[in-house]
């Protein structure tokens, strides 16, 4: 009973904040609404026993992705009126798409194939531990390869962005410190002039 109450509470917050994302005027508020939406769906996941996914959602999406997103929004000088233009005009298309999705989902969920009578496996009480256990034993090899892919991504990003630009007037401190007299002063023998 209490669990159901919590579920409906978070669901209501989730739906309200999701609507908020597309309706509020200020993009910062929209991003904050999205954070709230992530947070409530994380709570729903935890409620349904997938606590690892819930934690990851908060850590990765709320903690990293959305903060980065907020930075980007604040850096860019967005024209708010232009973004909001045509909201009413595109509303029927959006509603149509949403309707189709609802119909499709209800069809899928009522198909006999998806009616799971009993759980395929017994859920461990602590699925973070259970995931960690197979991730670092049975799946250690693919896990390491995923790490290699991340290393590659770092190397690739640096290779593509780091470069010396000739047009930037930047002080080179070591060069300045190590400068010697001969680099700057040149003695020239000149004929005496009248």
């Amino acid at each position: 009973m209490f669990q159901q109450f919590i579920f409906y509470l978070f669901t209501a917050v989730l739906i309200a904040s999701a609507i908020g994302v597309v309706t509020v005027r200020n993009p910062i508020y929209a991003a904050l609404c999205l954070i709230l939406a992530f947070f409530s769906s994380a709570a729903i996941w935890v409620l349904s026993g997938a606590e690892f996914l819930g934690i990851v959602l908060v850590l990765v999406y709320v903690g990293a992705v959305m903060v980065l997103f907020l930075f980007v929004i604040m850096m860019l000088d967005l024209n708010l009126d232009l973004l909001k233009e045509g909201f009413i005009r595109y509303l029927p298309i959006g509603l149509g798409a949403a309707l189709i999705i609802i119909i499709e989902m209800s069809l899928v969920l009522h198909m006999p194939t998806f009616q799971i009578k009993q759980p395929l496996a017994v859920l461990p009480t602590n699925n973070t531990e259970a995931l960690g256990e197979i991730l670092y034993t049975d799946y250690a090899y693919p896990f390491e390869i995923a790490a290699v892919i991340l290393v590659l991504a770092i190397v690739a990003a640096i290779v593509l962005t780091l470069r010396r630009r000739a047009d930037v007037k930047l002080q080179n401190i070591p060069e300045q410190i190590q400068v010697r007299r001969n680099d700057r002063v040149r003695l020239i023998k000149m004929q005496a002039e009248k």
Binding site: P142, L152, A156, L160
Partner: protein, 481 residues
């Protein structure tokens, strides 16, 4: 069963990549030779480590995700040797173009690591991860000369289309995961396929379409070939050289591991797909190549046509077909590396040699390199006694044995049409006056030596193809179930 030692070559390569990455930070620009030598040594040591694993029985390791067999070893050694050859050519290009960054070589090594993982994958998850490692490295390599807008555009196209193709493959794998009740190991999938009526199992056929689509993208075969010409043309020639040769071997590894080793019993399902894709590739590749005057684009369409042959050979599902496909892939990769090396030879600081006009009168400028290029083009056209002839011959033979007479006829017809644009290039090299009248810049000894060996190997393998062919057959016999 963990048995980590089974993956020693991969682990060694990864560690050397990381070490070279660190050492390179402390090297000055005039010491670039040191990192180049380190890169070459690590590739060769990895190949050497693999030689000792050949001729051992099939072994599984790392929780049955890694397979050590003759096929994997053979493919990996070919990948490493070809990469080492490619490095010799790439070094000249990067030096000439002032593009030198040691990271170019390291990104190639990352790609090689991905290919090695694919070649010895015994689990679809590993096939996918290896493919991603390879593709991410390739995207970066295409965009490597970042001030060149064409390269950036090519990289963007390649990245987006590649992501879609990865998604397709992954979708296919996920459906297979559902059908087999959570199995991704190749043998487990094969056991599941054994119990099914292939052509009546609609979800399975649906899965095959997606998996074949993902593989066809990696080959650059026809409905998914759009990226090939743009990427070949836009990328720096050093990248094109690598991208156009070595990853084809990895694509073949994926084809064999996924379609033959795990879905082998579903051959009736995927054979028709490969037949259509292969024939379309051969037809469209050869016809469109005629209209190209940019040499890199022409070679791109030629690659599409060549890969059609590989797919058609494999499509038969017989041992002859598989070994013809393997032989074709290896010899084509060897030819393509050399062909692009000639383009690198003709380029210099200010000029990127890439149109047919740049080849005009090559014979007057350098008879020896013109002869080497002649060998490569003859081989691609399939003119005896070059190795390309034998490769085409064995594919057609496998098709005839499988009873695909009309497909073989189309292949022969298209090869005749294809011969036109190769011969046109040769005519330009030998009978046209050079537009640029200067002699070729002198090159380093290793470049000359490796390119000449590469060219002569095409001829020698064409005269004595049986040893390589028996290596291919042997690797497949001992490794396939």
């Amino acid at each position: 069963m963990m048995n980590i030692a089974i993956a020693t070559p991969e682990i060694f390569l990864l560690i050397s990549i990381c070490i070279i990455l660190l050492i390179d930070l402390f090297l000055r620009d005039d010491q670039r030779l040191i990192s180049y030598i380190l890169v070459q040594i690590s590739v060769l040591i990895t190949a050497f480590l693999l030689i000792s694993t050949l001729h051992t029985n099939k072994q599984l390791g790392l929780n049955a995700m890694y397979v050590q067999d003759e096929l994997g070893g053979f493919l990996k050694i070919s990948i490493l040797v070809l990469t080492s050859t490619a490095f010799v050519y790439i070094r000249k290009y990067l030096n000439d173009k002032n593009l030198w960054k040691t990271e170019f070589f390291l990104l190639v090594l990352f790609a090689v690591l991905g290919m090695m993982i694919m070649a010895s994958a015994n689990h679809l998850l590993l096939v996918y991860l290896g493919l991603e490692l390879l593709s991410l490295a390739l995207y970066t390599l295409v965009a490597f000369s970042r001030d060149d807008s064409r390269a950036t555009e090519a990289a963007m196209k390649y990245f987006i289309l590649g992501a879609i193709a990865s998604g397709m493959l992954l979708y296919g794998i996920s459906m297979l995961y559902g059908l087999t009740m959570g199995q991704l190991e190749l043998q487990a999938i094969a056991a599941y396929i054994d119990t099914q009526a292939i052509l009546e199992n609609i979800p399975l056929l649906f899965t095959l379409v997606f998996i074949v689509g993902g593989i066809a993208f990696k080959f650059g075969a026809v409905p998914l070939h759009m990226w090939v010409p743009d990427v070949y043309q836009g990328a720096p020639t050093a990248t094109t050289l690598f991208l156009g040769s070595v990853p084809k071997i990895a694509a073949f590894a994926m084809l064999i591991r996924v379609l033959s080793e795990s879905l082998g019993l579903a051959q009736s399902g995927w054979a028709q797909l490969l037949l259509v894709i292969g024939l379309l590739s051969v037809i469209i590749g050869n016809l469109l190549a005629i209209a190209q005057f940019n040499l890199k684009r022409m070679l791109a369409y030629s690659a599409i046509a060549q890969m059609g042959f590989v797919l058609l050979g494999t499509m038969t599902g017989t041992l002859e077909g598989y070994s013809a496909g393997l032989f074709y892939t290896l010899t084509y990769a060897l030819t393509a590396v050399g062909g692009f090396a000639i383009l690198i030879l003709l380029s210099h600081q200010g000029l990127e040699a890439e149109t047919l006009d740049d080849l005009k009168g090559l014979n007057e400028r350098s008879p020896w390199y013109a002869f080497i290029m002649l060998l490569f083009l003859f081989s691609m056209a399939g003119i005896p006694p070059m190795v390309g002839f034998y490769a085409k011959f064995s594919v057609i033979q496998a098709l005839l044995q499988g009873g695909y007479l009309w497909a073989a006829i189309i292949l022969v017809l298209m090869s005749v049409i294809g011969a036109f644009y190769y011969l046109r290039t040769i005519k330009m090299m030998y009978f046209d006056k050079p537009e640029l009248d200067f002699t070729l810049k002198t090159t380093t000894l290793d470049f000359k030596l490796v390119l000449s060996t590469n060219g002569l190997l095409i001829l020698i393998l064409g005269l004595l193809p049986s040893s390589l062919m028996s290596l291919c057959t042997n690797a497949l016999v001992t490794s396939l179930p």
